[in-house]
Amino acid sequence: MLSFVSAVGSVVLGTLAHVGGVFKLLVQTLFWLVIGPFKKKPPSRKNIFAQMVFSGVNSLIIVFFVALFTGIVLAMQSAYQLAQLGAVMYVASLVAVSMARELGPVLTALVVAGRVGAAITAELGSMKVTEQVEALQSLALNPVRYLVVPRFLALVIMLPCLTIFSDLMGMLGGYLVGVFNLNINSGMYINITLKFLTLKDIYTGLIKSVFFGMIIALIGCYMGLNTKGGAEGVGRATTVSVVTSFILIILSDCVLTGIFYFSNM
């Protein structure tokens, strides 16, 4: 009994320590992001652009791929349901709204967490275990400023951009099914999409993706910078990073959707 209590206790304490660590990292990141430039220590622009290319531009194809096929599947599945109500043409609005509000931001975030979050943890983790992080410190370069801030900024900027493309590709997928399979007139499909899709649907999705970007960057960097124990440690940290990001993305999606829903946004 006692060992059970102590086991639960140590898990809780361990988790709390990690939560504290991530918040500390967030505070430090925001400090270097906001206060740093005034102290003549802005994050390196070259690094930020390199990270934006890596996390944004290089993720485009896989995001396109996932969103397009999600749109197609979504259209087919909803057509199957809506056909029973005789309202097949509403496939257009259903695909558009669910892509913009939910699937666009979430699926993009999950793809990017798997691709970029894992890469961040693996890179920072191997830097940590080969003393490169210490080497940075010994050169009086703050690892948070030098390593975390560019990745954080890149993800917070690029994830919403990717989400916009993802929304569009999802709608294109729906359009393909609607026009070529359900025989909805092309102009009609676009009209219905535009009629039901409001700006609010899009920006709530984008607000979500900003939060997801923060989650992916913070968890990825935190796990990387706290890697211990050689190559195996890097592997473990990467797994934990991706799993944690996934869980937090879904969890915060639920919370944010709740907030938007109950505040009638």
Binding site: S44, Q132, E134, A135, Q137, L139, A140, L141
Partner: protein, 266 residues
């Protein structure tokens, strides 16, 4: 001999990792312009001591002063001002994999100085010339041999013209010639530029070629400290055993505490 200014002072430093005491009250003074060698067997806490001085680890108790400033309670931004005055050569070089040799060397210059890019390029060339690797600017660290990486690591450590350089096992794993070159570099930097050096090593050849003063660390304590002659003629059997590298003596190879037969027949 005239007492030189003490620029690094370690007092009663204690550090415990998972219940194992690694540093158990270390006292050490490092004087300006001198090369102090910290020697001791593997796992005696040499590298740990160094990591405390550069601020990677926070001690459980005790104090470290560098340039008269207590660093264990110093704010990160204040500490960075001190860090700019020292360089560190890491055991495994710790070069940044994602950057070529030139960027490795120029990173600190770009970040901390307002120097123009062409001046930085010239400075990088000069530092590489010092370690005999001019012309290797565009290579990535993965394309270099262990000895070359170490020399680049040394060049990176001196890129900002530091006042103190810390060497963590600078000659470990190098062939005798490269090791000799590194030793000569350490000497040159100390003598010509009045740089204070702290060398952590267990390579006795290196110890006797570079040291002004030697401190021997054993079981988390400094057991002997003095000039090279004093250490060479030390009466302490532990010091003598370490110098001669004898397997028999007060320093035991076996870390366990007896009961071998019992453990086998348990």
């Amino acid at each position: 001999m005239q007492e030189k200014d003490v620029i690094v002072e370690v007092k009663d430093l204690v550090k415990t990792f998972d219940g194992r005491t690694v540093l158990d009250g270390v006292n050490l003074k490092l004087r300006k312009g001198e090369t102090t060698v910290i020697m001791g067997g593997s796992g005696c806490g040499k590298s740990t001591l160094l990591r405390h001085i550069i601020g990677s680890y926070v001690p459980d108790s005790g104090s470290i002063t560098i340039f008269g400033k207590e660093i264990t309670s110093l704010e990160e931004s204040e500490f960075d001002k001190i860090r700019k005055k020292f360089g560190m050569v890491f055991q495994n070089s710790a070069l940044f994999d994602s950057m070529n040799v030139e960027d490795n060397l120029s990173l600190a210059l770009r970040e901390h100085t307002e120097l123009a890019e062409d001046i930085i390029k010239i400075m990088v060339k000069m530092k590489l010339e010092l370690v005999g690797l001019r012309g290797f600017e565009k290579l990535m660290p993965s394309a270099l041999s262990g000895g070359m990486r170490k020399r680049v690591g040394l060049a990176r450590a001196i890129a900002m013209d530091p006042e103190i350089i810390f060497y963590d096992e600078p000659t470990a794993g190098l062939d005798p010639i490269v090791a000799g070159v590194i030793d000569k570099l350490i000497l040159d930097l100390g003598k010509k530029l009045q740089i204070t050096s702290i060398v952590v090593t267990h390579d006795m050849k290196s110890v006797f070629s570079v040291a002004d003063r030697i401190a021997m660390l054993y079981e988390g304590k400094v057991i002997a400290e003095g000039t090279m002659e004093e250490i060479k003629h030390s009466k302490d059997p532990r010091v003598q055993q370490f110098i001669t590298g004898s397997p028999d003596g007060p320093i035991k190879f076996f870390m366990d505490s007896g009961g071998y037969l019992e453990e086998l027949t348990k």
